[in-house]
């Protein structure tokens, strides 16, 4: 007892010197681990620190906050009792137009973010003042489908890593923003771009590409963080002689799409990285690509050192509705069960065994009409008459999906999964279209459903045990904001009307909101510095931070 109290006394003095004494005890335990290795406060980000990210909740060291993709923080200074007192602390303006989709990283007091047109920046996280800014000179003829966006960086060692709209992977020095290496993943003129935040595992930087609208052949790459040398490539559309190639008709595999455009997750216990893929190309015309079209709209389990496929699970076979599976595959452990949870763009919430890719169940979390039956494994099967037609066929969810790339969160305290949902049906049409390299390739046009019917959105809390909804928070219109959960019993999300909102995780009751002045197109995060917890979100062209007064 005496020894423990002495330790406590030392901890208190040390933390007082860091200004950390007003954090709750459970956070102190976490912080003490870091404090015990005081020199590491300004040390490099080792691969082991990334694995142990839960031990330093004051930092946010990867896109989803941890390798599990939970977007959950153990910080609890801001909690249900005081969230109503949150005030803005600082804002950083990119002054760039278009959607600002970044989730920043914070490591040891420095915030690293990205902006439109491949901006990157590092800020003093306490004040918001920039210490460096970078912007890539982009060619005039880049082909991002959906805005000149970027969702964030990875960090490893003394470098941050950026994927670019012209399909390069770049390492920047974390203290200066200087370019350390710059490699072209592929020729962007084929319709390729990179918008996701890379994922650093061990000594590798893993990225996937965007371009499902352009008839690309998707892939996932791993680069040596030290040199930029490509260590492996996993084609998400198998070539001749590879398993799965038979799921493509004729030469359609060459332009089969299946881009991996959202950051994956990683299970250190089994040394497996999980990545998800998007639609087969052309997105709205199945004619000419008969078969399941592996590995489009799939969850892939890869060995990080080699890119070797361990298993896969395909959510939407032979998709004709643009039902990308590019939602963060969230790792959750329930007792002995090791799971992946995904609320999919196709409207179903899936629970998959991450040891083998076996489906445990799938339940709708939004209005679904494309499927009305399931196979023996419980996987939803597409209705034959749900295919797009020349005249147009109304199907739910619409092309933007029941959810999309905005991050969900899993809160281990409430044991609920929270996801941004969208209620919109569309009229899908299809028409023959010749492929032309680098040109938009949909095999269709789809038209929003009758505009007499308003579209709505909601934040939904789903019980992973049952797939049933526990509560929902209705948005006046669909939002592209992701969701953050914290140990303070809070959920943070944003809306299209510009509000950044704190909700009680258990009930969905709103506790606080702030009007950012423009729609939130990003997923929020949280960090702590000098004993003060901040919550950050990008909205409009500004990054906002909030804290208690």
């Amino acid at each position: 007892m005496k020894r423990e109290s002495m330790n406590e006394g030392r901890k208190s003095r040390f933390l007082a010197s860091l200004g950390m004494t007003n954090l709750r005890p459970s956070v102190l335990v976490f912080l003490t681990v870091v404090a015990g290795a005081a020199p590491s406060l300004r040390a490099q980000v080792t691969a082991q620190r990334l694995v142990d990210s839960g031990k330093e909740p004051q930092n946010w060291m990867m896109y989803s906050g941890d390798y599990a993709g939970r977007r959950f923080s153990a910080l609890e200074q801001i909690n249900t009792a005081n969230a109503g007192m949150l005030v803005p602390k600082w804002a950083y303006q990119t002054m760039a137009g278009g959607k600002f989709e970044t989730t920043p990283l914070v490591v040891d007091g420095i915030l690293y973010g990205t902006g439109q047109d491949n901006r990157a920046f590092a800020l003093d996280a306490r004040s918001g003042r920039p210490i460096w800014q970078y912007q890539r000179g982009l060619p005039a003829d880049i082909r991002p489908c959906c805005g000149r966006v970027n969702r964030g960086l990875a960090i490893l060692g003394d470098r941050v890593f950026l994927g670019t709209l012209d399909a390069h992977v770049i390492a920047l020095d974390s203290k200066t923003g200087n370019v350390v290496w710059d490699v072209a993943a592929v020729d962007y003129r084929g319709g390729y771009s990179i918008t996701l935040a890379p994922l650093a595992i061990k000594n590798l930087v893993i990225v996937g590409v965007s371009g499902g609208e352009y008839g690309i052949r998707g892939f996932i790459d791993a680069y040596d963080a030290a040199t930029g040398e490509r260590k492996w490539r996993f084609y998400t559309v198998p070539g001749p002689g590879e398993p799965g190639h038979e799921t493509w008709e004729g030469e359609s595999w060459k332009i089969g799409g299946a881009p991996a455009w959202i950051t994956g997750t990683y299970d250190p216990a089994t040394n497996t990285t999980f990545w998800t893929t998007g639609n087969p190309s052309p997105s709205n015309r199945g004619e000419g690509r008969a078969g399941d079209n592996l590995y489009s709209n799939s969850l892939l389990a890869l060995e990080p050192e080699t890119g070797k496929l361990k298993w896969y699970f395909q959510f939407s076979k032979h998709d004709e509705h643009d039902y990308d599976a590019t939602q963060v595959p969230v790792m959750v452990d329930q007792g002995e069960r090791r799971l992946i949870l995904q609320a999919n763009r196709n409207g179903f919430f899936y629970v998959v065994d991450r040891a083998n890719g076996k489906l445990l169940f799938a339940n709708p979390f939004a209005k679904v009409t494309w499927s009305d039956s399931k196979d023996a494994s419980g996987a939803p099967i597409a209705r034959k008459d749900a295919s797009p037609t020349l005249e147009g066929n109304r199907v739910c969810p619409g092309a933007a999906g029941a959810t999309n790339w905005m991050s969900p969160t899993y809160d281990p305290q409430t044991r609920l999964f929270y996801v941004t949902a969208r209620e919109q049906c569309d009229v899908f049409s299809t028409a023959p279209q010749a492929y032309e390299a680098g040109h938009a390739y949909y095999g269709s046009a789809y038209f929003p459903n009758d505009d007499a019917e308003p579209f709505t959105g909601a934040l939904r809390a789903i019980d992973p045990d049952t797939g049933k909804m526990k509560w929902e928070w209705k948005h006046p219109s669909p939002t592209w904001s992701g969701v953050l959960s914290t140990a303070g019993g809070l959920i943070f999300t944003g809306d299209a009307e510009g509000n950044f909102i704190a909700l009680e995780a258990a009930s969905g009751k709103a506790l606080w909101h702030f009007q950012c002045g423009a729609s939130v197109y990003s997923s929020p995060m949280t960090f702590a510095i000098d004993g003060k917890q901040y919550v950050a979100v990008a909205a409009g062209s500004a990054l906002f931070t909030f804290a208690l007064p």
């Binding site: 929003p448 007499a452 579209f455 592209w480 409009g540």
Partner: protein
């Protein structure tokens, strides 16, 4: 992949380019020889007179404020759309404020609120979010409310504008009103 924002139309284009295309389409639409046989001068009389359009609609600074300004509607909308908007205004509510980056414009929904003090206001929604409401009542007074401080708030997609049937507005007079809208829109 993600139609980031609602539509895939305009893929690979900047927002500026998309608006250029929209402007072009609108300009072509205005020049298309619409089957308008109406008398614009008579339409103007109706607009500001017996039909009562100007009670709620403004053209070139003259008229009411409750409904959308119609100064450029003739150049931005098809004749079919105009006919439908007059005969059946609730079928497709007019669009109001459009905020940068927000996917959908605010619509001219009808709203009735009762304040905590018991005062009732009916009018149109100028804008709203989860927490607040900005409205104009039928007397053209602006009101800004926090939703949770209201006793009640009811919205309806039934337009405040009457549906002008044949009895209220003959086909001929309808053509005249549309002719006026098109003539003004071309100016």
């Amino acid at each position: 992949m993600p139609p980031n924002g609602a539509t895939q139309q305009g893929v690979g284009m900047t927002e500026e380019e998309i608006w250029q295309v929209i402007s072009y389409i609108r300009s072509v639409q205005a020049k298309a020889p619409a089957e308008v046989v109406g008398n614009a001068a008579h339409g103007k009389d109706l607009f500001y007179g017996s039909v009562g359009c100007s009670t709620c609609h403004m053209i070139q600074g003259k008229g009411g404020r409750l409904g959308p300004d119609l100064s450029t509607t003739g150049s931005a909308r098809s004749t079919d759309y105009l006919v439908e908007s007059i005969r059946n205004p609730s079928r497709r509510l007019a669009q109001g404020i459009s905020e940068a980056m927000k996917e959908f414009s605010q619509e001219y929904e009808t709203v009735t609120v009762v304040t905590a003090e018991g005062t009732k206001f009916t009018g149109v929604v100028l804008n709203e979010d989860h927490f607040t409401l900005q409205m104009m009542d039928t007397r053209e007074q602006l009101h800004f409310f926090e939703r949770d401080k209201l006793r009640s708030l009811e919205k309806s997609r039934e337009s405040l504008m009457p549906a002008y049937n044949q009895k209220m507005l003959s086909d001929k007079d309808l053509q005249d009103v549309i002719a006026y809208l098109l003539a003004v829109g071309d100016q």
